[in-house]
Amino acid sequence: MNSPTAKVKEKDLLVKVVYASAVHPYNDPHVEPGTTVGILKTAVLVFFGLTEGNRPDGSVAVYTLFAGKIALENLNQSLGDVANDAKKLELKLGEQITQGDDKSPVTASDIAFEDDLRDAETVECAKRWKVERGTRQELYVTLGSAADPQNSYQMRLAWRSYPLDAPSMKFCNPSTKSLEEPTAWPLVRGFRPGNLDACVNYCEEGFVTHPEWRNDPQFRWRSEGNALLRVLRIIQSEMDDHYTGRHK
């Protein structure tokens, strides 16, 4: 960032940036402390031959500088501020990687769903469930009742925008994944196999039947915490305590 003839100042920083797939780091021993993260980032990307921004398919390449574990996301922050009186600043360049054919962007809702699913799979009661992934925020969960260990049921949970809304809950034929079979449903409080829905406040169908629940403090959907795990636990509890058999 300095020309060879630039005057070296006593307060200049030595800045080193490592990019993991390069054998040589970016090194500049004469960086003015007032230089911003944004200016450094531009120089670093040029050095490593990287381009941030639109790629041929219209997506966006994103690179971030890190100081230790801290992402330097404020591009106006000065490097002197980042260095905090140190004379040497060692940074890393990280990049966001997306691969696969799914063209739709990853949303915060997707990430929240993935995080909560991962946590849900580690709890003790998850050993009673067989969880299969559907598309995006969709799960097929096989579960049963402690009162009827010989029978199991497969349920599809599908969120539109996790965890802000309640999931659609349907029971399905495990072989065909058909959601149109009343006999796929267990008989539990609020479940209406004949209507292929449930009138409960932990699924979308319940709020369609009772829109007034949305604003009722007693029945409203609760999005805080691990909503996915909470729904699974409620259903498991209902299956264990209020199950009366399979719908015929």
């Binding site: 990019y19 970016y26 971030t64 890190f66 990687i97 993935e114």
Partner: protein, 175 residues
């Protein structure tokens, strides 16, 4: 300006590396989703010795049947391992599900790491098929400035060998 990258003529794989790769990718394969891991090692003359596998754990990863998303913060964790090993990130391997083939998809070409000489491998069948061989993977190398190019069988045979006397190690990057 001197290039910060080095392109290997040959890649030598530590013993057990590919078995470790299959074990790692199959964890996600059993869940019906793509898995991913990174290949790390050092350049030794014209060779690159791949000695470490970095597996990813924790939140913020998005893995689906046909989609992977790794945030920059996770790549920062990977970089910390690379620095600690005084090594270089030499490649990445991810899995495709049955029927998805072993070519890089269009987004794979543009969204992965695009560094000269960088390897991008695609393991078939979610790495669940017993006895999958290394040369059954789609092996791509980034030939700047054109981009990733899939190697043919003859080239794979010539440019990939085993690194005798060195056992592969798996490192975990978690966030």
């Amino acid at each position: 300006m001197k290039s910060p990258y080095q392109c290997a003529e040959r890649w030598l794989l530590a013993e057990g590396l590919f078995d470790a790769v299959l074990r790692e990718l199959s964890i996600d394969g059993f869940r019906g989703q793509e898995g991913v891991a990174f290949l790390v090692g050092r350049h030794v003359g014209p060779e690159a010795h791949i000695t470490h596998l970095i597996a990813l754990r924790g939140k913020c990863l998005v893995k689906r049947e046909d989609h992977l998303h790794i945030p920059a913060a996770m790549m920062n964790e990977v970089t910390d391992h690379v620095i600690e090993q005084e090594a270089v990130l030499l490649g990445q391997i991810h899995s495709h599900g049955p029927g998805y083939g072993i070519d890089l998809s269009y987004p794979d070409h543009y969204f992965g790491i695009r560094a000269p000489g960088f390897l991008s491998l695609v393991c078939p069948d979610f790495a669940l098929r017993h006895g999958t061989r290394f040369d059954e993977c789609g092996i791509h190398v980034f030939d700047a400035p054109r981009g990733f190019r899939r190697m043919k069988a003859g080239e794979i045979g010539q440019r990939f060998q085993t690194l005798p006397g060195k056992t592969a190690q798996t490192l975990i990057a978690s966030l």
